[in-house]
Point group: C3
Chain length 248, copies 3
């Protein structure tokens, strides 16, 4: 399976061209739009999202991660084999957390010919042809490098920030729920929020956090929008608290 | 064919994960995004939309209808065989109108193991695996129940409300045009609107209603947006009038 | 490959129904959403976009171009064979530039039965069945007509207007970069803009133009939104200047 994780937006002509490039190379393989609205130009938030969501993709998946503000500049392009999946993308941290959590990972710095390559659309011109080659069983074109050389290799295990706001106003954090104490409170937007198992445990309008379906701690409001109620946006700080929790 | 009818939004990581779950089970079957922006948390509007749009899907389709504000709570999960198609979704009325219009329908209450099931994402964890099983020819896992036990079994044949606003500002009602008198007027947003066959029959800026390509009565403005011109939003009342029609 | 170029929006039930119609006819052929948010009701802007983006689609593609404000009226439906690809759509100029640039092109006026055809959704009811027939090797149902009879046959080679604003605020023009002098300036939004090869050549906040990944001259701001910074929207005039260039 090819999997696309990008900040391209579904609107616009970008995703379609990447799919055309993939299907020209390998006609009968499905392409999943896992996320098309990753926070734009923000590989750090994207890294923690990608690590949480890639884990739900089947083994053997070829995952193109393209949040790439440095496209056309000197940043490296990488191919990472980790946890039975391939991750392809720029060396800006986007792939680093997924690679680390997989335990074993091998990393290649990809070489590509400059001929016919645009300066602004490596998703189509570099990463899609690379995915096609790997899908055909070819080795990555380039040289293996140390995993520690990846940008983001020194980033924390979990990120105490809001990394995504979904359509319903729920605010995902970069914290895995399993890494938090069962009674941990999360402080965000000036409020201290207790954990709940589901929306049904809290009254309408109440804010809380819960473990979302991909293991992230997510801040929500029952029958409301957490982003507006708490003034949260991508990048906002989240603090892990304990002890008494105030709810107003 | 798998068909998705949801309020998940195309943005976000939800549709992609459902597709991955479907294609992991049955690799070579197309998945149609029939509607991804059904009115959120509003299974009643969705029920009349789904009934109108499912009729255009080919026989044999497996239709996942997921507008599910009660996910994680005690609501039942259903599998409905109706009109040569399968409908899978929560028992909150969403499937009720499609089931009734199909004439004959059989309804199963679905049992599923709680193991590995998230409390918030039954589209991926319950309904997608159920669709995969049905696509493989397995019987629905659960017990057959009376169609009359479905939530929404007592809802009206047609709904005199706005149920969807499209990209162009056209306002779909829950009324089938075929159920209205040929000269019926629709009253909405304080105006009485006559029927037209097409946009070409009315002057620019004029509001009217017509039978849309799926049989619903839809309120439109030639070269304009009906939602703004008439102050319409999902849930707004529509009254069926007759006789003299005023246009201002 | 089937390719969709429309102003339908990805939201709403329109794209899904076109795909269902295509896959009912030819089950195993991929469908690419090349562009779903072409400027609405604006076949002229769409014509220059389609010509630039269709060139990236593989030979043999069947491209449905549906920006169709005249649907249900007397406008003709066309099938155009050009450059090894098929273009299907209304005769309102949308296909004209792609047909002309391909050099040789054959044009058919399509006949269709009125039975079962909606007045408002020819993407599903006319152009999708037509694409299915062509994919099966059938000839276009209708009579060949002169290419010069196409609406848009007399439109200019390049369009000195903004034709699309992307998710990031970049403003595409209808001008091919290859048709401009290497030192040409573009005047838009009251500013004169120099060319750059990439975003890295200009300081943050600076506006410039560059050749985008599909050959169009595109106006951008490094780490900013060109549409807001320069007050640009689709249809805005762009003037080709030379000589001294002022930047403020």
């Amino acid at each position: 399976m090819f999997v696309l994780f990008t900040d391209f937006g579904l609107e616009g002509p970008y995703i379609g061209q990447v799919k055309a490039a993939l299907w020209q190379g390998v006609a009968d393989r499905p392409v999943i739009d896992l996320l098309s609205d990753a926070p734009p130009f923000d590989p750090r938030s994207g890294a923690y999202l990608l690590a949480a969501y890639a884990a739900a993709m089947p083994p053997g998946s070829l995952i193109l991660g393209v949040v790439d503000p440095g496209v056309g500049g000197p940043r490296r392009a990488l191919a990472v084999e980790a946890g039975g999946r391939w991750f392809l993308g720029p060396d800006n941290g986007l792939l680093a957390i997924a690679a680390r959590r997989a335990g074993e990972a091998r990393v290649w710095q990809v070489d590509w010919s400059e001929r016919g390559i645009s300066a602004s659309f490596h998703g189509r011109d570099v990463f899609a042809p690379l995915a096609v080659g790997l899908a055909r069983g070819e080795p990555p074109p380039g040289s293996e490098v140390a995993r520690e050389s990846m940008i983001g290799a020194d980033w924390p295990e979990d990120l105490d920030r809001i990394i995504y706001i979904d359509r319903f106003g729920n605010a995902m954090t970069g914290l895995r729920a399993a890494a938090l104490a069962p009674d941990a409170a999360l402080e965000a937007g000036g409020r201290s929020l207790a954990r709940a198992d589901s929306f049904f445990q809290v009254p309408p309008g109440a804010a809380f956090w819960y473990e979302n379906a991909n293991g992230l701690a997510e801040i929500a409001v029952n029958q409301g929008r957490a982003d507006r109620a708490l003034g949260l946006s991508v990048g906002a700080a989240v603090r892990i608290g304990t002890g008494s929790i105030s709810e107003d």
